[in-house]
Each structure stands twice: as C-alpha cells, then as structure tokens.
C-alpha cells in the first residue's frame, strides 16, 4: 500500500461512538425525551403496579363514601357511587394507553406496508391507493368511527379499528411521500447498479429510513387516539362504562363539574399529562432525527 493509513484521532471518535450511534443512547440524552420519561414514567409505573397499591378496585362501589373530595383516604376523591377515582384513573390509563398504542401500531404497520408499496412502485397501484385514501380522507373521521363502531359493536377492538381507520390513510400518505423522496437517493441507485431486488431495496434502504418519522407520527397518533376515544365515549360509542377509560371518567364527571369538580378534572389532568408526554416524546424523536437540530 502506498497510501498511508488514516487512523481516527482518538479524541474525536471514542468507542462510545458506536453506542451513542445505536440511537437509544442519543434518544435518552435528549432533554424532551427525558421530560417525556419524567411525565410518562411515573404514570406508567403506577399503572402497571396498581394492583400492589393499597387502593380499592376500580369498579368497587362504596355507598358509605359517595362523592367525597380528594383526601388522604382517596387521593383523587370518589365519585357518586363511592368508587375511588385514583384507582379508576389508573385503570383508565391502562385502557387508554392500550387504545393509544394499538391505534398507533395499527396505523404504523398498515401505513408502512401500503405506503411503501404505493410510493415505491407508483403507477396503477399508486393511483388506486391514492384514490382510496382520498375517499377515506373525504369522510368525516367521526362518521367513519361511528359507522365502524355500529357495524362491529362497541368495545376495545372496534374502537381501536374505528380510530385507526382515519389515521391509516394519513400514514399511507406520509410513508408514500417519504418513499418518493428516498426513492431517488444515491444509495438506492448504488444498490440498483448491482441489480438489487425490489424487496431488498424496500426492506434494507427504504423502510429503515422511514421508520423514525413514522414513529414520530405514531406517538402523536397515540395521543390523539386517547383523546378521540374520550370523544367517542362522550357520544356513547367508545369503551363502554364501567370500564374506566379516561374518556369515560371525564364524561361521567363532566355534569358534576359544579358539585364535584374532581370527578372529571383529575382524570382530565392525567389524560393531559399523558398527551403532553407523548408530544414531548415525538418532539424528542424529531429533534434527535433532525440533522439540523444536531448542530
């Protein structure tokens, strides 16, 4: 070799580099994500371990303790049936989080697959896909939800499907537009010069690079889904009471705002915190991904 070897100056690229590169490390270093963890972490922790807490069951009524304001015995107070609101809120978080994540996951997976095919192959597939998404986007999303809930009946699964039905076209669009911009990247060309297959291009080059922005969108979709579920509950189409989804809790208590503010306000604060946490999370992911913010 006539070329001298160029070795990396040690002070610039420490061995931590690879670890840092692994993404997780960088994510954890982001202040927004730390904030998101600070908000979501305790809520999730309490939710997961709520059965170990000294709390009455979320459905357990107590006619001796009806409509009590927050106190040491009932940190969030009780509702009109004497049920402990903290316990119900934590159970609600579990349900709402499930709805949120299920919706996000569903939208993500379907959007990823359909959007990739549509954007990558273009042509007839693309046009049909776009026409279909057009139709779904032209639908008021609430009607989509109402229709689906009516067909499938109420409950967790129909609600998840109903909410994701209006998210999916958006995800398809998002993925498609990213695929379109990635499709002409030089590294795709490089792979094409060695006759890489379409599947190879999609799975190795396109999807890994679109996952992260999709995750950002998904975490917002999760936050939205939690709120939409609350709206559906208000119209009597969400998760059915007494299952204490956060939407149900807020709805149950909203007519008691004057008499017993805590019934709907405290679960409302929790829903807000979750939504804010998810937004911080998406902001954080975005920041970590955006090369400009890395400067």
């Amino acid at each position: 070799m006539t070329q001298e070897m160029i070795t990396l100056p040690a002070r610039r690229w420490s061995d931590l580099g690879t670890l840092r590169q692994s993404g997780l490390w960088r994510l954890l270093g982001n202040s927004r994500i730390q904030l998101a963890i600070a908000i979501l972490g305790p809520i999730l922790f309490l939710t997961i371990f709520r059965s170990m807490l000294p709390l009455p069951g979320p459905l357990q009524t107590n006619l001796q303790a009806m409509t009590q304001p927050p106190s040491l015995g009932h940190l969030f107070g009780t509702d009109r049936m004497g049920r402990d609101i903290l316990s119900r809120t934590l159970a609600g978080v579990q349900i709402s989080m499930f709805v949120g994540f299920a919706v996000a996951l569903l939208a993500l997976v379907v959007g990823l697959v359909m959007g990739t095919l549509s954007g990558f192959f273009g042509g007839v597939i693309d046009r049909i896909m776009m026409a279909i998404t057009d139709i779904f986007l032209a639908f008021p999303s609430l009607l989509l939800a109402i229709g689906l809930v009516s067909v499938l009946g109420t409950g967790m699964i129909p609600v998840v499907l109903a909410i994701s039905l209006s998210d999916v076209p958006r995800f398809i669009r998002l993925q498609r537009s990213m695929v379109l911009s990635l499709r002409n990247r030089a590294y795709i060309d490089a792979a094409r010069t060695v006759k890489a297959s379409q599947v190879w291009l999609m799975t190795r080059h396109i999807i890994p690079n679109t996952i992260a922005p999709l995750l950002v969108a998904a975490s917002i979709a999760a936050a939205n889904a939690i709120l939409v579920e609350a709206g559906l509950s208000f119209l009597g189409l969400g998760i059915m009471p007494p299952e204490p989804s956060l939407g149900n809790l807020i709805r149950d208590g909203q007519s008691y705002l004057e008499q017993a503010w805590w019934i709907s306000t405290l679960p409302g604060v929790v829903i807000l915190m979750i939504a804010i946490g998810l937004h911080f999370l998406s902001d954080g992911i975005r920041q970590v991904l955006d090369p400009r913010s890395r400067k």
């Binding site: 990396l8 610039r12 690229w13 990247r185 590294y187 060695v194 297959s197 890994p208």
Partner: protein, 665 residues
C-alpha cells in the same frame, strides 16, 4: 452613470488616515447546547478604500462567521463577543440594532453565497430592491425604481425595465446573483462583503460575476471583502489575501507576495494541493493530513500543529501571533519559512500509465440519446421533450480515465446514469465489458444512514451472492485497506465520517465487485481543497494498481485534466470536443472549450494578470428548443450564419482529437 458620482466624491474627500474598515481582535462564539464554538478567535485586519481583500480558508475555518460578524448578521446562537469593527472610525460593534440598520445596505453592501436562496422567492425583484433604495437614498418610489432599473442594467440584466417585475424563480442562478450584486450596490456602499458569491455557479458564469464585481467596485471605489475557498479566484481578483484557519488569520498580505512566498505551513499546503496547470509531468498532489481542531475544545499552542510537518515543541505550548514577513505581509508561525524543506516532500512523481491500442475496450457508447418527455393531459397538446443526451459516442479502454466536462445542464450526469443502467436510453447502444459502478457527488446522500459501513461496502457482495460471510468480511477489509482506511471503520456509521472518508467508502463500495469501470460523478466537488487532493491521489493510485477505468465527471477543469487520459467536452447533450486530456487542455480546438478553460481561474496572480479576461457571455440556452444549427452558436464569439444554419458534426481535428466546429481548423 451619473448616479455613481456621489460615492466617488465622498471617497475623494480627505477623511484622514483611518482605514475604511479596521477590525481589531474580533471574537465570535456560537453558544450551542454541546458547548461554545469559538468560530472567530481574535481576527484583526484592515482594508483601505477601493481595496479588494480575499479571505480564504476551508469549511469550518470561521471565514463566513467572521464576515457575518462584521454587520452582526449572525443567526442565533452566533454572537460577537468581543472586538472592534471600525468603519470609517465608528465602531459597528458598539452600535445599536437601529443604528446598524442605517449602515447595513447603505454603507456596507452584502452578497451571499447561494443566489438561489438569497432572494425572497415570493417577492418581485422590484419589491426587494426599490424599498431599500427609497429608504437609504431618500428617494420617492419612481426615482428609486429608475435607480433600481439602472443598476440592473449595469449588472447586465437584459431588458431590466421589464425584468424588475419578475420573480426570482423566473431567473437563472447567474441572473439572480447579478440581481444580488445590483441590490448590494444600490445603496452605494463604501464597503462590499461578498461571501462565496460564485461558489454555486458554473465556471463560465463565475468568471462573468467576478469580472463584474471587480469592475463595479473599482468604478465606485468601494472596498471589498471577498470570502472564498478557491485560491484561483483569489489570484484573479484580490489585492490582498487573508488565510484563515481555526478562527484565526494565519497569514495576511499582498496577493502576489502570498502566492510567491507563502510563509505559513497551512498556506503552503493549500497552494500545493491544487493540481498544477503545468501538465508536463504529473506529481502527486500535496495533502494535509488530519482534521482541523474541534473549536469547542480549548486550544493550546498553534491550531495547525497536529497537521503540520514542521511542528516543533514550541508550537504545542504557545500560539504564534502574526508577525511581519515582508511589506504588509504577516504570518503566524514560529518558523520563518513555514514548512521550508519539508514542503515538497510528498510530491513524488506519478509514473505515467501506458496505454496502447491493444488494451481492451471496456466501455463503448454509440450514438446515445436520452430524451425526457413530459406528460400532457390534453390529448391534442404535444408534450414537451428535453433532449438531455443527444447522440454521443465514446469509448474507454482498460485502465483509462475519461473526463467529461461541461456546465450544469449539459447532460453529463445523464450520461453517467445511462452508463450505469440506472435509466434506459431512448436510443443508441451502450456496451460495457464487465460491470460499471458509481461514486456519487453528494457524500451525504450516498449512504443509507442506517447501515454500518461494513454492510454498505458489502452490499454489492451480498446482493450478488458473492462468497460466504467470512469471505465477504475479508473482502471488506481488503477494500478498506485499498482506500486507505483501517478495520475500525467497519462498525461505524456514515454520519461519523468526514466528507473525504465518505468518498473513500464510496470508492470502496464501487470497487467491491471488481468492476471494469467506475463512474465518478463530481466526486470531489463537495470536498475541501485539502481533502480533494487526497481523493484525487487515491483515484490515481487505484487506477494504476487495479487497472480499473474511470469516468470522471466534473465541472472542475483543472482536476479533470489532472486525472484524465481523455476528455469529452459536452454542451447541450452533445460532445463538442473529444480527445487526449493534455491536448484538449493545452490547445483547445472548440470555441466552447476555449471559453471554459479561459474561465478557470489559475492560482497564480501573475499568470492571471496576463490571461484573457473576456469571459464567455450569455448562459446555457433551454434544452427544450434546440436550434437547428450549432447549439453553441448563440454564445460563440466566432459564430456565423453558417453555424446557425448547419449543425457541425464531431470530426477529426488531430490524430487523437475530434471537435464539432465548422471553424476548428
């Protein structure tokens, strides 16, 4: 131009001995989350009336930050933290924003790098130009409009009265930069700051703009600070040069002095990295090892010490200050001669390659066409067709390098894509013996950011099912070694690499399948001068060792002529001159080639002074409606009616050269 008079009158007035601009110990910091970047770290210089000063340096040297600091145009988190900026004796750094706004545009005009983004895209030229004139020169709108049209006319905008109502997007890059110049001059400033004003432009347009700036500033008597990384431009343009490295001026002095007797090792190295115009024998280009220091970290000693062959103990302890080396010539180095004897150490001779007619032809292209047809929804409308490649024929032998040059839009990149089979040709034949691989221009988008380098290099192997895992890993190590990188790179990711390292990886990937030809599309144009030399040296070595052929596409004529055996000059989808590199470069036959070469600035102020200064006029016509005759006729100084009527064909000019001009002989 009667409106030029007041400035000259002002300049003529006896304002005493103070310089036009005097910068003293300027410090600019960027307060990022990751720490404070000391971008400008104590810069001092002065500029006299009517003087043109060039500030050169590589990216990250702080030259742009310094220029923007002068008028406090830095965006957050940039901040001027200390220093004096005395313009005609008043310290701009102590002025309020409001006071400064009377200086900006009025006393100091600014031209920015990218004409495509420097004008507001949604406002007409008139709306961007006229209000500042009204404000600074206290004119009513009609007078200001007339003034603006006058300036547009002056900077060479044809039909200025009408074009003033155009939007920027309706103009070419060159035209927009002219508009920028007109805007900057319209306040009749005493000082112009031009931040890489020609970097984004084609070489012919660059020559036009440089001439224009030179002419106008000398006419108005304005001083000028010209930020650039192109030493050739400096030689052509500047009275004085400042060389910046790591936020400091390391050398400052009259241009001829600096080029003839550079004192700082960095200046010396920079000058040596440029391919010499003299092609008699090819020597390896000088290259500067290592990286510039991290400006966030505290610096002890000379900033250049890690990369300096002449560094000694003192350099590690104490930073040198600028000291006088000649009349007005200062340098910041402990050694009086800089590198001194060590300077030419690298420059070993490149043994010439032997080519013969027996070498197998690896690429043969015959009458290649590529037309892009738009889509028309209305069936009765004929869709517009762009003839990007319009009948070219080329061939490349084993181990040979073909350089393709031309302005942007001439079709050279399309040829590359056709050679690689990325796009189907409209007609014509491409024959490739073996495989064609590619090195791309933009190192940032060349790699999947989610893949490790080992996977990137191995990708062609995996896709084609070459070898097993062990064999592929071995091949990867071999390839890394060939491009001068060690094994530790295998587990890294693209964003951990510098631009030069990325191009090495790109070359390694291209070589993985042992292709017969590597197509390199502007592989060095995004790189700094010193790194560019490394990549060129690498390619020259590989070509010799592996006898792989290269197609080297670039607008940088000096580099192309240095690396190529043959050159094809393209204009509007056609080859207008084709032949041995040395011959084409030294004795161009086609008027277009001649103009291109004339436009290339040579890093030698003495030679530059002697060169023809009339740049090629006009711009590349639209490829949508090609003329029936010679495509170049519209810009050709020698064009006749015959040229406009009849298309010249590529025909033998000499034994080893062809040209497409009726008057080439």
């Amino acid at each position: 131009m009667n409106f030029l008079r007041p400035i000259q009158a002002l300049n003529a007035s006896p304002t005493g001995q103070t310089s036009l601009l005097e910068v003293r110990d300027l410090h600019t910091h960027f307060l990022t989350d990751g720490g404070t970047v000391k971008a400008v770290n104590g810069v001092s210089f002065e500029i006299e009336r009517g003087e043109r000063i060039a500030i050169v340096g590589e990216s990250g040297s702080g030259k742009s930050a310094m220029a923007m600091s002068l008028l406090r145009l830095l965006a957050y988190p940039g901040k001027v933290v200390a220093g004096q900026i005395n313009l005609n004796g008043r310290d701009l750094n102590r002025m309020s924003e409001r006071q400064l706004n009377h200086i900006r545009g009025r006393e100091v005009g600014t031209i920015f790098q990218d004409p495509m983004s420097s004008l507001d895209p949604v406002m007409k030229i008139a709306d961007q130009m006229i209000p500042p004139i009204m404000r600074h020169l206290d004119m009513n709108s009609e007078k200001a409009r007339a003034e603006a049209i006058g300036w547009l006319d002056r900077v060479g905008i044809p039909d200025a009265g009408r074009r003033i109502d155009a939007y920027p997007f309706e103009m070419s890059g060159g035209m927009r930069q002219r508009v920028m110049i007109a805007m900057a001059l319209s306040g009749r400033p005493k000082l112009m700051i031009a931040d890489e004003p020609t970097t984004a432009l084609d070489v012919t347009i660059q020559a036009q703009i440089v001439e224009l700036l030179k002419e106008l500033t000398s006419e108005t008597g304005a001083g000028m600070i010209f930020i650039t990384h192109d030493l050739g431009l400096v030689a052509r343009f500047a009275h004085k040069v400042g060389v910046m490295y790591a936020g400091k001026l390391v050398e400052f002095g009259p241009v001829k002095d600096i080029f003839a007797r550079p004192c700082h090792p960095y200046t010396q190295s920079l000058l040596d990295t440029i391919p010499p115009v003299d092609q008699a024998e090819r020597r390896k280009l000088a290259q500067i090892p290592g990286f510039p220091p991290d400006m966030k970290l505290p610096l002890v000693g000379c900033a250049f010490k890690d990369r300096c062959a002449a560094a000694h103990e003192r350099c590690f302890v104490e930073a040198p200050d600028l000291t006088l080396r000649g009349p007005g010539h200062r340098a910041a180095c402990w050694k009086p001669e800089g590198l001194g004897e060590a300077r030419r150490k690298d420059a070993e001779l490149v043994p010439p390659m032997t080519h013969s007619e027996e070498d197998r032809v690896v690429v043969e292209v015959f009458n290649l066409h590529k037309h892009f047809t738009g889509r028309s929804v209305l069936p009765w409308k004929v869709p517009p067709t762009v003839r990007a490649v319009n009948g070219i024929s080329l061939n490349i032998r084993e181990g040979e390098t073909l350089g393709i040059v031309g302005e942007s839009g001439c079709g050279k990149s399309t040829v590359a894509r056709l050679l690689l089979g990325l796009d189907p040709a409209t007609s014509g034949d491409i024959y490739v013996d073996g495989m064609a691989q590619m090195v791309f221009q933009d190192p940032a988008s060349s790699f999947n950011p989610k893949m490790m380098l080992a996977d990137i290099i191995q990708e062609p192997l995996v896709v084609t099912g070459w070898g097993n895992r062990m064999e592929r890993a071995a091949r990867t190590r071999e390839l890394l070694a060939q491009v001068g990188l060690d094994e530790s790179y295998m587990s890294r990711y693209p964003n951990q690499l510098s631009g030069g390292q990325r191009q090495r990886i790109a070359i390694a990937r291209a070589l993985a399948l042992k292709p017969s030809v590597v197509v390199a599309d502007e592989p060095t144009s995004a790189l700094d001068v010193s790194v560019r030399a490394q990549i060129i040296n690498l390619m020259v070595d590989l070509k010799r060792q592996l006898r792989v052929s290269f197609v080297f596409i670039s607008h940088d004529l000096l580099t192309v002529s240095y690396i190529s055996d043959k050159i094809a000059v393209m204009y509007l989808g056609e080859v207008v001159e084709y032949g041995a590199a040395d011959e084409v470069f030294r004795n161009p036959a086609h008027p277009y080639t001649q103009a291109l070469i004339a436009a290339v600035p040579v890093p030698d102020p003495v030679a530059e002074e002697a060169r023809m200064k009339k740049p090629l006029s006009g711009e590349l016509p639209s490829p949508l409606d090609l003329p029936s005759g010679c495509a170049f006729a519209s810009r050709c100084p020698r064009a006749t009616d015959h040229c406009r009527a009849e298309k010249p064909l590529l025909q033998a000019y000499s034994k080893s050269r062809e040209a497409a001009c009726h008057y080439a002989n």
